[in-house]
């Protein structure tokens, strides 16, 4: 046990240096992402032309789509991190998976929220049982369940294994959400991107918003990942401390 504590102490300086480097990168990403998102507001309201039918409400689209897409990317990352954790059993992959899960659920929830505001103006209802909306809500329920599993008092290894398996299984729902508007043609959810439904100025602003949120997303995932790693270290030290006292 003492050897293990000594090993932790010996690695502390090395970890601290690596942590400081990551912390600086994290700060840069969050600041750059935040600035890009602020600038994207200017682009949305000044550069992008106003849509003729929906007017100002259409501007929500520039926020809604990046939230939804980065949410889906987060779930892909959580699934990949889960697969790598099961293959390598490295705590870092579990931390990355946890961070991606939380961030994905946050972004997907915000995408549902902004979509609901859009629906109120476009369809005169806050919610309708449309395939895209329903599959997205079901996806949020699934990932909320996976997060609930992470809150149970399992041992670290068991919790990480369960979370990894469930993240992989839950990802089966993600393609269904993405392709639902194409699978069920009767959907009223618009599928504009890729169908040439956007003016070039609108597309440019959309890409800028996607990139801005992407940088911020990366910073957020990295921040949560570092926090999860710190939690893991604390948990381990608590266990070691408890064993030392016995």
């Amino acid at each position: 046990m003492r050897d293990e504590l000594t090993a932790i102490n010996a690695n502390r300086a090395k970890s601290a240096r690596a942590g400081a480097g990551l912390g600086a990168l994290n700060l840069v990403l969050l600041l750059a992402g935040g600035l890009a998102m602020a600038a994207s507001q200017w682009a949305i309201f000044v550069h992008a032309p106003e849509e003729q039918v929906m007017g100002l409400t259409q501007k929500l689209f520039y926020l809604h789509l990046p939230l939804a897409w980065w949410g889906l990317v987060s779930f892909l990352l959580a699934g990949l991190a889960g697969a790598f954790y099961l293959a390598k059993r490295t705590p870092g992959w579990d931390a990355l998976g946890a961070a991606a899960l939380e961030t994905g659920l946050l972004l997907a929830g915000l995408a549902l929220f902004t979509g609901s505001i859009w629906a109120r103006t476009a369809w005169n209802t806050w919610w309708t049982w449309d395939p895209r909306l329903s599959t997205a809500l079901v996806m949020c329920f699934i990932y909320a369940g996976v997060l609930a599993v992470r809150r149970l008092d399992f041992s670290f290894e068991r919790r990480a294994s369960l979370s990894a398996v469930l993240s992989i299984v839950a990802f089966a729902d993600v393609p269904l959400v993405f392709f639902s508007a194409r699978l069920w043609p009767r959907t009223i959810h618009p599928s504009i991107v890729g169908n040439g439904g956007l003016a070039p100025e609108m597309l440019a602003v959309l890409l800028f918003c996607l990139a801005g949120l992407g940088v911020f997303w990366l910073g957020l995932v990295l921040l949560r990942c570092r926090q999860a790693l710190a939690e893991q270290r604390l948990e381990r030290l608590q266990i070691l401390n408890g064993e030392n006292h016995e």
Binding site: V138, F141, G145, S161, V165, V169, A172, D173
Partner: protein
């Protein structure tokens, strides 16, 4: 793997049939659900075929949760789980054995639920009966494959209390299984409606059957590949 799975399936079926509790509880819950939903229609009013199919599958889903919880609870005393893990069987045999046992019991329960739906919900069996039953079986395959994998979540913690006790784990099984099974259930409902009334669910019939097959494949693949990571000796 198949031989081990069949032995395990036979053992589970014999134990559950001998004790009776697990299957009877699941049957009663399903029947109660069908009966309670039947009270929503007034005298002489008809329940639409799609609503009847939805009630049938909701009953089946709750039945599935109870069945797989009971199947995994069989090894939760006297360290039998550790004994099962030490047995010279691949981990997938446990998953397959439990899935086969669950599938058999679910099929038996549905043999009661189906006539109950016809009687209590005022449905006719005017659709193609062999085709309808085959689609129910196909949907059951997905239910059993995922149920057998997630049922292992409810394992352990028999002596623990509070938020991590068995009750918390069993509720987690439902919380995870229900949304994951939704696409499969939706397809089951749409195709099931065609069993009660041929005109009700014929639209996009092929697409729904393909969705059932896709869910079966995904859940079976996930069970085969990932079950070993869920079912272990750790608490």
């Amino acid at each position: 793997m198949l031989k081990g799975a069949l032995i395990l399936c036979r053992k589970d079926l014999a134990l559950l049939a001998g004790r009776g509790g697990g299957l009877v509880q699941a049957l009663l819950l399903g029947l109660l659900l069908i009966f309670i939903f039947s009270l929503t229609r007034g005298p002489g009013e008809a329940v639409s075929p799609q609503a009847a199919a939805a009630i049938f599958w909701i009953s089946s889903l709750f039945c599935q949760v109870l069945l797989f919880t009971a199947l995994y609870a069989l090894e939760e005393s006297d360290g039998q789980r550790q004994a099962l893990l030490l047995a010279p069987l691949p981990g997938q045999s446990v998953w397959l054995g439990k899935a086969l046992a669950g599938l058999t019991l679910l099929g038996l329960a549905q043999l009661v639920f189906l006539p109950a739906s016809v009687i209590f919900l005022g449905q006719g069996m005017s659709g193609s009966i062999p085709g309808g039953l085959a689609l129910i079986l196909l949907t059951d395959l997905g239910l059993a494959a995922l149920g057998s994998m997630l049922g292992a979540l409810a394992q352990g913690g028999a002596n623990q209390a509070g938020r991590n006790g068995p009750a918390a784990r069993e509720s987690l099984f439902s919380i995870l299984a229900f949304p994951l099974l939704l696409p499969l259930l939706l397809a089951g409902i749409r195709t099931g409606a065609a069993l009660f009334a041929p005109a009700a669910g014929l639209e996009d019939y092929g697409d729904w059957v393909r969705l059932i097959l896709a869910c079966d494949a995904v859940f079976s693949g996930a069970g085969l590949l990932l079950f070993g990571f869920i079912y272990d000796s750790r608490e």
